[in-house]
């Protein structure tokens, strides 16, 4: 290598350093797999799953389609940075290959190709690569301009909050931002002095850098480009930019069937890859109901897990409403991570349920519905009563499973990270259900619904009462006439985001009145503030969240707020100006106008007395 080309060394050293550190970290994370290689993983490795992973890397790692669907400007920013850089890496390889006829070169040769070969062989292919590389660079620079704009005025990119980065991340960001403008100037100057170049670098060189006085600047600029690249690679393994390689590895591992552990292991297996694949893009910030009060959003939580400091309080104050998981563009299992973290905090907690009575199997006649109202159902007898009235109206037979002795379903323990401790509760409830002959299990609590569906492995289908009532309405077993009532509907987190049930409650309300559109609803709905996920959020903080949610719900024209979760109903009703009712109550009342009349008459009679 000639002496003038020594400027490639900062880049090469940084690049090698990053490679070695990455390799060591990945090998450390995957240590358990070397000891016990799973046959499933090996068989999936050489199958279509790898191709599917490559497709996902292309659509999410490069094109960032999920971000694009949420926010076009932000999606374009991520896409132009990633795709532009990728185009340049691939183009660099092909260009050197095309030019020298050799496929293998030192990595530095492609990166600083223009310095070594300012005037490449002509022909259409040579011209194509020149313009192609310039297009890649232009794309990255567009992304960079948007990224800088995002730092100055977030609103232009259509977001309200962006991640506050730590020092090391800001340093890495600065080096990253320096790389591409320096490359542009260095290439333009080389082309300006020696001629040639594509539509961007060539034109810039001809118009600005053709003066002979600037010739002495050529080498320093290439040095600066190499230094910023090298410095970026040195900080990469210790900054959020570790997400670039880790996200790709994560996608492969997921497609090969690796699943995250239930307990917290931030430096082991898939969980390590998940924690380090977060780019802190900030999509989890704006959707968080507590963004204005607390820094427990996933970007910060994962950062705390990476550093090993401060994750405890972030895990136990978060509401687990699931909004960040819904918004995460790389589908990280954030809820699972949070419960794992809570489990780690309370690993000394153990539960003893030996006092529970044993359930004797009961042989009953076949009924349509097994009704489970859960713990919270006992606090809302009006909902249970209304639902039973509706069953009666629909001509359904039912057994109320926990009318006498109610046992928790186990999900509250799971949300606190103590799922293993809940096995005795699940066993008790399973015995309660197994003796019965019924077509379905219906619960009025979305928390129970989720637990019964996911963890009980029941033979009979489990429905939330809104799904069940909607089924009755469609089948003509319930008949409702559209009244004048105007409702705003609150989506409970556990029913909406966690169980993907949005349509049934809406159809039911539309059948008997008008459902008002809200600023944030369905997957974007805010948490009521009473989620069982949060363990140490104080009452005043919960109340602040509730009032924010109520602001969304109390739209003009709304006569009542309707929800389908006893926790949400209880909590919203405490602070709401409007009456807050359960779906079943609304449906039971609106269907019977003559009864409503009777009630008004009775009330009037009482007042007369």
């Amino acid at each position: 290598m000639e002496k003038s080309a020594w400027f490639v060394w900062p880049f090469m050293l940084g690049f090698m350093f990053a490679l070695v550190v990455l390799l060591l970290r990945y090998l450390w994370w995957l240590r358990s797999l070397w000891r016990r290689p799973s046959s499933r993983l090996l068989s999936r490795m050489f199958s279509k799953h790898s191709l599917l992973a490559v497709r996902e890397i292309f659509s999410e790692g490069l094109l960032h389609l999920r971000i694009y669907k949420r926010n076009r400007r932000l999606g374009f920013m991520h896409m132009s940075l990633a795709l532009g850089w990728f185009m340049m890496i691939v183009g660099g390889k092909f260009e050197t290959w095309f030019h020298s006829g050799q496929f293998l070169h030192g990595t530095w040769y492609a990166v600083f190709f223009r310095y070594f070969e300012p005037q490449t062989a002509g022909g259409w292919a040579g011209t194509f690569w020149l313009h192609y590389m310039d297009l890649g660079l232009l794309l990255v620079l567009t992304g960079l301009a948007l990224a800088i704009m995002k730092r100055i005025r977030k609103r232009i990119l259509g977001i309200h909050s962006s991640t506050r980065h730590t020092l090391v991340n800001r340093v890495a960001l600065t080096f990253l931002w320096m790389i591409f403008p320096l490359r542009l100037v260095a290439e333009a100057l080389t082309f300006g002095q020696h001629g040639g170049g594509g539509f961007l670098t060539g034109s810039l060189g001809r118009c600005c850098f053709s003066s002979g006085m600037l010739a002495g600047l050529e080498l320093p600029l290439w040095w600066a480009y190499s230094l910023s690249l090298g410095a970026f690679f040195v900080v990469l393994p210790f900054s959020r930019y570790l997400h670039i390689p880790t996200e790709m590895a994560l996608i492969f591992l997921r497609h090969w069937g690796l699943r995250a552990a239930e307990d917290l292991q931030p430096e082991k297996a898939l969980q390590a890859f998940e924690i380090h694949a977060c780019s802190a893009c900030g999509l989890c910030l704006d959707v968080c109901p507590a963004i204005k009060d607390h820094p427990f959003q996933s970007a910060y939580f994962l950062r705390a897990l990476r550093s090993g400091k401060g994750w405890e309080s972030l895990a136990s104050t978060c509401l687990s409403c699931g909004a960040c998981e819904e918004a995460c563009p790389i589908n990280l299992g954030l809820e699972k991570l949070r419960t794992a973290a809570r489990g780690k905090i309370h690993e000394k907690h153990h539960a003893v349920y030996s006092y529970l009575p044993t359930v004797a199997p009961v042989e009953t006649s076949r009924v349509d519905v097994l009704l489970f109202t859960g713990c919270m159902g006992r606090l809302k007898p009006a909902t249970t009563k209304a639902l039973k009235d509706l069953f009666e109206e629909a001509g359904l037979t039912w057994v109320h499973l926990d009318e006498q002795e109610s046992i928790c379903c186990g999900r509250p323990l799971s949300l606190a990270g103590r799922a293993g401790e809940a096995s005795a509760l699940r066993e008790h409830n399973r015995n309660l259900i197994q003796g019965q002959q019924a077509r379905m299990l219906v619960t009025t609590c979305p928390i129970c619904l989720k637990q019964f569906r996911d963890d009980y492995g029941l033979e009979l289908p489990v429905y939330h009462h809104s799904e069940m009532l909607w089924y009755c309405l469609r089948a003509g077993r319930l008949k409702r006439e559209k009244g004048t009532a105007c409702f705003s509907y609150h989506d409970p987190c556990e029913l909406g985001r966690k169980s993907a049930c949005y349509q049934a409650p809406r159809e039911l309300l539309q059948s008997c009145g008008t459902l008002l559109p809200l600023e944030r609803e369905q997957a974007d709905a805010l948490c009521c503030g009473n989620s069982l996920g949060a363990l140490s959020l104080s009452l005043s903080e919960r109340q602040a969240l509730t009032s924010r949610t109520l602001k969304v719900l109390e739209v003009s024209g709304a006569q009542s707020i309707v929800t389908s979760c006893p926790l949400c109903q209880h909590n919203l009703a405490r602070q709401s100006r409007l009456p807050v009712r359960d779906l079943a109550e609304v449906l039971a009342v609106t269907g019977l106008p003559e009864q409503h009349g009777q009630r008004t008459a009775a009330l009037a009679a009482v007042q007369e007395l």
């Binding site: 136990s316 309370h346 000394k348 907690h349 153990h350 539960a351 003893v352 349920y353 006092y355 529970l356 009575p357 713990c375 919270m376 006992r378 606090l379 002795e405 109610s406 046992i407 928790c408 509250p412 323990l413 606190a416 103590r418 509760l425 009473n530 069982l532 363990l535 140490s536 959020l537 104080s538 009452l539 005043s540 919960r542 926790l567 209880h570 909590n571």
Partner: protein, 112 residues
């Protein structure tokens, strides 16, 4: 000093000396979940308790016992809680009962 007559009597073992220093493990619990201090032993939590229907579990009693320093008994009893959160929903003082119970249950010696 003669005992003052309040017009009622109580067993000495149920008296709570608020000026007595707290045990270090009790202090840790109270510092980790400060809302426990807001408890006024009204008994709402016990009235709605799911586990309380089967076993004598009452959160307000746990708080009193904790203050009294009966750590082992608190830990044993707190393990019976199902963490359903009904008590927290009805608590007029906004005590984070679920977190408190998780901390209290950890006070008992580990399961054999």
């Amino acid at each position: 000093m003669p005992k003052p007559d309040f017009g009622f009597a109580f067993a000495p073992n149920r008296a709570l000396d608020l000026s007595a220093p707290l045990l270090p493990e009790v202090q840790v619990v109270l510092e980790t979940e400060p809302s426990i201090r807001a408890c006024m032993a009204c008994g709402q939590c016990a009235a709605v308790c799911t586990a309380g229907a089967f076993t004598p579990l009452a959160f307000y009693r746990l708080v009193l016992q904790l203050r009294g320093g009966d750590v082992a008994a608190v830990g044993e009893r707190a393990r019976h809680c199902m963490l359903c959160g009904k008590c927290q929903m009805t608590c007029p003082r906004g005590v984070n009962i679920r977190n408190a119970v998780l901390l209290m249950a950890a006070l008992a010696p580990p399961k054999p």
